[in-house]
Structures are given as structure tokens and as C-alpha cells.
Symmetry: C2
Subunit: 425 residues, 2 copies
């Protein structure tokens, strides 16, 4: 009767709301058939005898979601960080992504990425591949084996790439996309395709039209980039003179939320009109604070998005960002929000630990459904964190322990990881 039911014991920590944490030491977190089934100070009668793993004083938090990460760029993360977005793409990124034409290279590179993702505190991710179908399928195979739940995109780009990194035509790009979807949809246990037009400068109107048709046929979610950097925004304005703001370059093709569940990365310089449309359409914002700093893009107004009740999660944006850990992204988000407050707008209060934690858990996780929380019925994604590598003579509150792990943890602090009830680490 209670097969597939077990308990974890430890200090259970999750978001009650974006502003408030629930923290209960010495408690039992029940997993039943892959779902959360309650938190109890004492194991209730009906759960007597179920397997229980006691993590003592370790923190048990919901699995984290990386809403925006480029798997092929993991090879050169943290090198060549001296350019702004467009020059960075042309100089470093496109030549490196072109190498994934070679499946052997893809196998080697993606195995490192998949392994490090597995060791991270993340349980879910929305991931860009390259335009190459074989390499993207290799990435999906490797990610599927990790047990992480992921959405992976074969990238579309039929213009402004380079001789070695561009699809021949809108038709070629669309055909390859359909082939890839047919090949991978529902093929894996943990990994599914997500439509991935790279960004407006990479995709002709004709391609966007075709992708919109594909989206409607297969009901795939979508991920792309939006209003990241001034140079990019000015270019989109040139490329799409009929649009009033960048987001319209997607929305004019019905690729901007609504029936097309959509993640837009960055939104650093979104106009009021664009923000209003994102809000109306329920577009997810992938806030990537470290990337926006490294590529000199600026600081995204995460405080505003959060206070307006918009959908917002965190992204590592490898290789604009350098670390896959969404704990690190929480720290980065808090840090840049302080500089936003100090340097841009003193009416925008810095993010709190609670708010950053919410964005890294349920904020992004909800793109996957009931994910990123321990409330009843949520998928059982849990990460166990141990802080013994960060000694202190102080007796710290669980909240302080969490804050320290946000700022200081690395893979050594991840004791265990469960995804949808399955222990993967």
C-alpha cells in the first residue's frame, strides 16, 4: 500500500511565499509516489515502518531550477570575458558552438557538462544546445541518464551566425527542427525538447513563422533571449522596424507566452510596454545576474518583476555566467540588486535571501509544473546540504546556515539529491 513511500529527516526549508521561508529542524519530509506528502515533527502512524534516511542537522531544500543555460558553452566558461554580448558571440561563442558539428566532440564536451550538472544543487534545467541535431540528441541522451529533469533545445539560427554556424535557410532550419522533435518527443524519461530560436538577430521572419506553426502542432514550450544588451536591442530595432519593442519581434509570431509557455532570458532593459506584455502573457523571466555583469549588460530589475507578481526564476547562463550552481546565482542576484538599489533606483529595495531562494526554487521550478516547493502534491525534488566544510564556532540558525550555503557552497556541500522522488546523488 505504501510502496514508493519514504521519509527524509533533517532541517526542512522551503518557501511559503516569495517573502517567507518555512524552516523546521528535526522534521520528516514524506515522499509518496514521487510527490511531497507532508512535513511532520513526528512520523504519523500511517507512515510507521517506511524507509527513513536521517540527515541530522543537514538542510533539506527543494531542488533548484536553472532556467537558462547553454550546454555547449560549458567548455569555455570563465575564459574570454572581456567583450560585450555581440562581439562575445562572434569572437568566442559561435566558433566554439560550430565544433558541435562533430558528434565525437559533442560526446566529450557534453559528458563533462552533464556530470557537473549532476553534482550541482540543481534538479531541473532549461538548456540550449547548438543548431546541430545529432549533437543535441547526444546532449539529451546524456542528460537523461543523470536523472535530472531537463528541457533541451536544438537552436534555430538561419541568419547572422557565421559561415560555420548557420542553417542554410528557414526551411532547412524548420525541417531539422521537426526531425529532431519527432525523434525526441517522449523518447526519454527525464528529458524533453523545447523550441529554441536563439534570438531575433539569428532568426528570419520566415523562420519565426515556421517555428510558430511547429509550436502549435507539437505544443512545445519555448525559450529565447530578450532585451539583454543595448547593442543587441538597437540591432533588433533595425532588423524589425515594424516593432515597437523587442518583445514584439516574438509576439508578432505568437511566440511570447500565452498558449506558448515561454522563457525569456535576461530582460535587463525591458520597456514598460514590454514588461506589461510579458506580465499579460505569463512569460517567464530567466534572471541571469552573473552573466549580465560579465558581459557588461547591466542589472535586470528583478525587484520590479517580483513585486509585480511576474514569473521569474534564475539562470546560470553558462558561459556568460561561470557557475552552474543556482545557489551561486541566488547570491549573485542579491548582490546585483544591492548595486541596483545604490546606483540605479533607490526605490527598488535589494532582494532578500528569502526572495532569491524563492526565485531559485519555485520561481523557476514552476515552469516544470508543481516543482520547487515541499507543499503537498509538489514533485519530490530535494537537495540535502551539509555545511561541515565551512566550520565556525558559532551556533548558527538554520536561516544563517542557508545564507552561508548560498554564498559559500560548492559541490562538496551537496550530500544527496532527489528528483521526482528518485535519489540521483
Amino acid at each position: 500500500m505504501l510502496t514508493d513511500t519514504f521519509a527524509l529527516k533533517g532541517t526542512i526549508c522551503y518557501s511559503i511565499s516569495p517573502q517567507e521561508l518555512s524552516i523546521t529542524p528535526n522534521s520528516y519530509l514524506i515522499c509518496s509516489q514521487g510527490k511531497c506528502a507532508g512535513i511532520f515533527p513526528v512520523l504519523p502512524e500511517k507512515y510507521r515502518g517506511i524507509p527513513c534516511k536521517d540527515y541530522k542537522d543537514d538542510l533539506i531544500i527543494p531542488g533548484l531550477t536553472d532556467l537558462h543555460v547553454h550546454a555547449p558553452q560549458y567548455t569555455f566558461r570563465a575564459s574570454g570575458m572581456d567583450l560585450e554580448l555581440l562581439d562575445w558571440l562572434n569572437t568566442y561563442t559561435f566558433p566554439q558552438e560550430a565544433r558541435y558539428e562533430d558528434p565525437e566532440f559533442a560526446k566529450e564536451a557534453y559528458s563533462i557538462f552533464a556530470e557537473d550538472m549532476k553534482k550541482s544543487p540543481n534538479t531541473r534545467a532549461c538548456i540550449f544546445g547548438t543548431l546541430h541535431v545529432p549533437a543535441t540528441e547526444i546532449l539529451m541522451e546524456q542528460l537523461d541518464k543523470t536523472g535530472l529533469k531537463t528541457m533541451v533545445g536544438k537552436v534555430n539560427m538561419d541568419r547572422n551566425g557565421s559561415a560555420r554556424l548557420q542553417e542554410e535557410s528557414a526551411q532547412t532550419s524548420a525541417d531539422a527542427t521537426v526531425r529532431w522533435i519527432e525523434d525526441t518527443l517522449n523518447r526519454f524519461e527525464n528529458t524533453n525538447p523545447i523550441l529554441t530560436p536563439r534570438f531575433t538577430p539569428s532568426c528570419s521572419d520566415e523562420l519565426m513563422k515556421k517555428l510558430s506553426e511547429i509550436q502549435k502542432k507539437y505544443h512545445l514550450p519555448m525559450q529565447s533571449h530578450l532585451s539583454e544588451n543595448f547593442g543587441e536591442i538597437a540591432w533588433v530595432k533595425e532588423l524589425c522596424p515594424n516593432t515597437h519593442f523587442y518583445g514584439e519581434a516574438y509576439s508578432q509570431f505568437d511566440l511570447f507566452g500565452g498558449d506558448c509557455p515561454t522563457i525569456m532570458a535576461h530582460c535587463v532593459h525591458s520597456s514598460d510596454e514590454e514588461i506589461a506584455l510579458m506580465k499579460k502573457q505569463g512569460v517567464y523571466i530567466a534572471h541571469c545576474p552573473q552573466s549580465n555583469t560579465n558581459l557588461s549588460s547591466g542589472i535586470s530589475p528583478a525587484r520590479r518583476y517580483l513585486d509585480e507578481g511576474m514569473q521569474i526564476g534564475l539562470g546560470s547562463d553558462i558561459a556568460g555566467g561561470t557557475s552552474v550552481s543556482i545557489l551561486r546565482a541566488m547570491a549573485d542576484a542579491i548582490q546585483v540588486s544591492k548595486l541596483y538599489w545604490r546606483l540605479i533606483d533607490s526605490s527598488m529595495k535589494p532582494l532578500t535571501v528569502e526572495e532569491a531562494f524563492y526565485m531559485g526554487t519555485e520561481g523557476g521550478g514552476s515552469f516544470f509544473g508543481k516543482v520547487g516547493n515541499f507543499k503537498d502534491g509538489y514533485e519530490f525534488d530535494a537537495v540535502v546540504l551539509n555545511d561541515s566544510t565551512i566550520p565556525t564556532p558559532l551556533k548558527l540558525s538554520p536561516k544563517n546556515k542557508l545564507e552561508r550555503l548560498i554564498y559559500l557552497s560548492d559541490d562538496r556541500n551537496i550530500t544527496a539529491k532527489y528528483v521526482a522522488g528518485r535519489k540521483i546523488l
Copy 2:
């Protein structure tokens, strides 16, 4: 004849100037009697037969200097990061520093700090203790044993502390300082006292006068804080109505560079007049980018200080900052300089990897003499870095390896560490 002479082999990397690195793979770095004695592609005849340690492809860089760190605050680093400077001091810092009245607590807390400093890529540091003489001597004893070269300060504070963290009078503070200096000057092999008035709000004019006399008598260097945060600056203006800018609160007592070698931490909001005086007096700036972000202080104009040829190094500023690694401080410095360029002044170009590396090595190291470089005659401080925990299928240039280690390294990447010719790790 060639006792105390040995070679390290690897990829030798150091600053030729703030803008240029020398990087030579497969080279021999000679140490003779604790000093650098040349870099050679082939071991010269006269060095045949000396001990040689081959670190293969590992990078060998000069030891790093942390120009500003509060040892007693290491216990609560990365927790309670939700306040600005003055409230943060009163709420978190002063109560914690008060605990060092207990030597047993000091022993336990400082042993963790000393151990982590030893495992870091830093070889030198200028360190704040607390106002307590016994605890500060415990700190000095423990640091001395690590083999790191350090300057440690018993803190002076005779006003605006708290019931539990304040010296009774200027005289009490001065007397304790003299007792401590007499007790520790030249007592240790690796550790020496440095005069440490906490900051102007903590030190009465009378105390400053006495410290100036002590400085003249013992010829000690000095460290303090300057123009970190708007609230602090406004308070100093109130406390010292006779001064035109914060720096004058020190310079009026002859405690601002010149014959008194001085480090001033932060200098985030220094006026033109203050900058001119720092430059004239050769005051060292400890640039603490992460702390200035965490405490919402702002971004220090490191580009300006560097371009004006001023003395500038990097500080972790534990616990305003969270990490003792000056490699991390380099990354932080580059990152905030990009936001400075984007948000404050587009004529101030972001710092390069070369410049951040210079600040973390010779920029700060020169406060200790000929330190932080591998040019002939410099003290032999060397750190060996291995990047095998950060795998990539790419063949990276040594410069790219260095950049990755700046952004991604932790203690696992430190293969070995030498201070003044002695292997300490």
C-alpha cells in the same frame, strides 16, 4: 655555495606591468635564499643539480596579498548580509567581536581562520583583530605558525562601540596598544604588529593623537577604513566638522601615508581632494569589491586609481566579503568594474584580467616590500595552481587557464604554496 637554492618547473606567470603578463610554459623559476633568482627555459649550468620540483602544466603565480581582512569576523561571514555598514556593525559585528574577550573563544575561532588562510592562494595579509590584546596575540601566534607573512592589528576604539566593545578612554586604548606592541614587535618570524585605529567614528581625536605618537616611536605601518559608505561619510563629517574631507580626519594627525605607510580600505566615495592627498602621500588603497557590494556601499573607482598610478591592492574584507581567496577578489573586481563602466561612468573602462591580477599580486604585495612578482630579487612567494578539477575538452592557453582559475578555483586547485622561499603547503 648553492644551499637554499631550488627550482620550480611549470608555467610561470607574473606581471611585467599592471597591463601586461609574462607567461612562460615549461620554465624554471629559481629561488635562492628566499628570493627570486630568474626564470629560464633550460636550467643554467650554475644551477645544475639543485633540487627541482616539476609541476608540469600547472600555473605558478606570485603569492597573493589580502590587504584588508577582519579575522574575528570570519565566524559569521556570509550571514546577516541584509544591512548597510553602520547598522551591520552595530547589529552583527560588534556583538561578535565582543566575544573575543574570551581567549578560549579566540583560540577556537582564530584556528579556523588561520587554517583557511593557509589553504587559500594568499601568502600575505594585513589583518584586523579586535580591541583585545590577549586575543590579538593568540591570532598572531596562530598566524605565525602557518608560515604566511602577516601584519596584524589590535584594533583601537574608544568611542561609538558598545557597552561590551569599547575601550574605557583614549589613554586605556593607547596603553594597551603600547603593551601589545612591546609584546609582539619582532617576536614572531612571520607576523608583525600594524597600528589599527578602526575608523574615525571609533577613535576620539585624543586617541588619534596618541596613536600618531606611538606610530612615530615604533615606526609601525597603519591600516584603517576610508570613505566606504555614505552613512559613514556623513557621520565623519559631523564628528570632525573642522575637516574638508574624510581623509583629513586621519591626515590632521599625520596618520595618512608619507612616513606612516598606510592602507586605507575601500575609498568608494573619495573626493578629488582626498584622492589627490592619497596619491601625494602614497596611501595604499585596499579595494574590496565584494564587501562594497554586500554592504550596498557602491563601487570603488579602481580604474581611476590604477590609471593615476596610485598604490592599489585587493582585500577580501571578511566579513563584508565572504571569501578569503584573492583570486575570487580579482573576479569580483573585474565584475564590478564592468558595472561601474555601464552604470556610472562609460569613460572608465572595465578592468582587464591582467590588471586584476596585478592588483592581487604586486599591487598589494608591495606593501610588504619586493613582494608579488617573480622579477629578480623579489621575495619568493609562489602559488602553484592546478585546474584538473575544472575539466574541458579544449586546449586552453595559459592565459585562459589563469582566467578560469580566477573565476572558478577553490582550495582544491592550490597544489603548493611557498612564502619567502619556504614551502608551507
